[in-house]
Symmetry: C2
Subunit: 300 residues, 2 copies
């Protein structure tokens, strides 16, 4: 542990790592006893580690977990992701669901990328966010857990500082309730955990995760910020945590007090009923456009 100058053996690292996740779960009241938590698993190191750590913590903290993997339909890649996720969930003995977005919504990510001008990673993010919430609601879960890391949060926050996007800046929280009945809250148990430590945890736990290899990787405009933040953390250990905590403790509350909840006012999408900032949610609009361009007819 470079921040704390703390040399740990494998066993104690694992203990320290899981205690850290527990602290995050408790600090932001992410789960309560009896809660049913759906863990989103892509097959990468972050999500398989999340599944493993939450499984460890679920017993002593008294919540239940299940897992889900979306088959996004990225040719030559999604099959392997689904397979890796299924294998890890199986080895851990956690219930695992696989849902094909082609079957459920009528189009694959590859098709969406081909017919809309939006950047691939942005389209993918929108689809995943929507589908996971949609499925967690349908399956009656209390919370949907995603593998967003401290590095991810630092990148989103930095990006919002740069673009001066207030709307985004108030949304980058560790836990967010939908405010709508039956819609599970979204939680990020790795909000305070570095990817560097997650990688180590996955290796010590012997989790066989998918290496990075998405064909759309490298196209995101924030990849450049990712490199900067990695170097920042290497030069000044603790910087990402300090930046994210500073945001959460000072910047966000101040913005919320000044500009009010109006900033993140959500209503129910008139088509699907899930949270939306407008009359029709971004996913339903995307879906309609994609199906139309593919000649497959309208929405739900």
């Amino acid at each position: 542990m470079r921040q704390a100058n703390l040399p740990l053996c494998e066993e104690h690292f694992t203990w320290w790592f899981e205690r850290r996740v527990e602290r995050t779960l408790r600090r932001y009241s992410m789960v309560g006893p009896g809660d049913k938590v759906l863990v989103a698993v892509s097959g990468g190191k972050d999500s398989v580690s999340l599944l493993c750590a939450l499984l460890e913590l679920s017993e002593e903290m008294g919540f239940e977990i299940s897992s889900i993997t979306l088959d996004l339909g990225i040719s030559g890649y999604s099959e392997a992701c689904v397979e890796a996720s299924r294998r890890v969930a199986g080895e851990l003995g956690v219930e695992h669901h696989v849902v094909s977005i082609r079957e459920r919504y009528g189009f694959t990510l590859d098709e969406a990328v081909r017919v809309v001008r939006r950047p691939p990673c942005s389209t993918c993010g929108l689809i995943k966010r929507y589908a996971l919430t949609d499925l967690a609601r349908e399956m009656g879960f209390d919370a949907l857990a995603t593998g967003h890391t401290l590095d991810d949060m630092a990148r989103f926050i930095l990006s919002s500082y740069i673009s001066a996007s207030l709307d985004e800046l108030v949304r980058l929280t560790p836990s967010s309730a939908s405010g709508l009945p039956g819609v599970p809250k979204r939680i990020k148990p790795f909000y305070e955990t570095l990817e560097e430590h997650i990688r180590l945890y996955a290796e010590i736990r012997g989790l066989e995760y998918m290496p990075d290899g998405c064909p759309y990787a490298g196209t995101a405009p924030t990849d450049f910020l990712r490199a900067f933040l990695a170097e920042l953390e290497a030069r000044r250990p603790g910087s990402l945590y300090s930046m994210v905590r500073g945001y959460l403790k000072h910047i966000r509350p101040a913005l919320q007090a000044q500009f009010g909840d109006g900033l993140r006012e959500l209503r129910s999408c008139s088509k699907c009923g899930l949270p939306s900032s407008g009359e029709v949610c971004a996913f339903c609009r995307l879906r309609e456009k994609v199906l139309k361009r593919l000649g497959r007819g309208g929405g739900p």
Copy 2:
């Protein structure tokens, strides 16, 4: 102009550049008719350009300017800075003062760096900030103008976001009144101007500035942020302006409203009478320590 995709000839660039500085002066009410403005000139591109641009604007906006250069006593460097500053001020026909900090305060920057553990750039910044305010007050100026650029402000703001320093975050304003009678306000007319444009302006105007060459350069921990921000601006033109404006329009007002003016409460230093956050200001404390270690006896 990459942001605006605006190709300009030399004459129109100069016109555009000075209009931009004028907009900054007016937007933040930096100067009023009849004001006496002291321009801090180090001899580098930013400060000689500031002197030139303010001279151009002073007539139509009805303020008066004079200039000052500190001889910081950096061996093999300060002499050349003073010389370059004197020459540019002479060519522009602006009154110019040179003050040696060795003569006025009893020690050089080289001596201070040798005897205190503080990083050189931090010690230098403290001395310059203090001495310039002290001299501008003594000479009866209404405002002290410094050459801080948009790049500088973006770096300070980013650094404060990372370290989550609230105290700093509310202080990074384009114009700040001291709140104490007789103490001039500090203004940054290049708050919204990129160094890239300043360099071009200096060249078109034929200003012979000192190239970077401070022997302490490269020791500042924020040099790494400087490189990142330069690359950010090159990749996404307009990013620095967006970040700095976002800070000024949204983040700072929200922090100020939430945490109050207590954050930047200033009183009068009990030794020198200039603004201080404590009983004795940071400069008087530094000076006392340096003089004592050099065996030159206490402060004023």
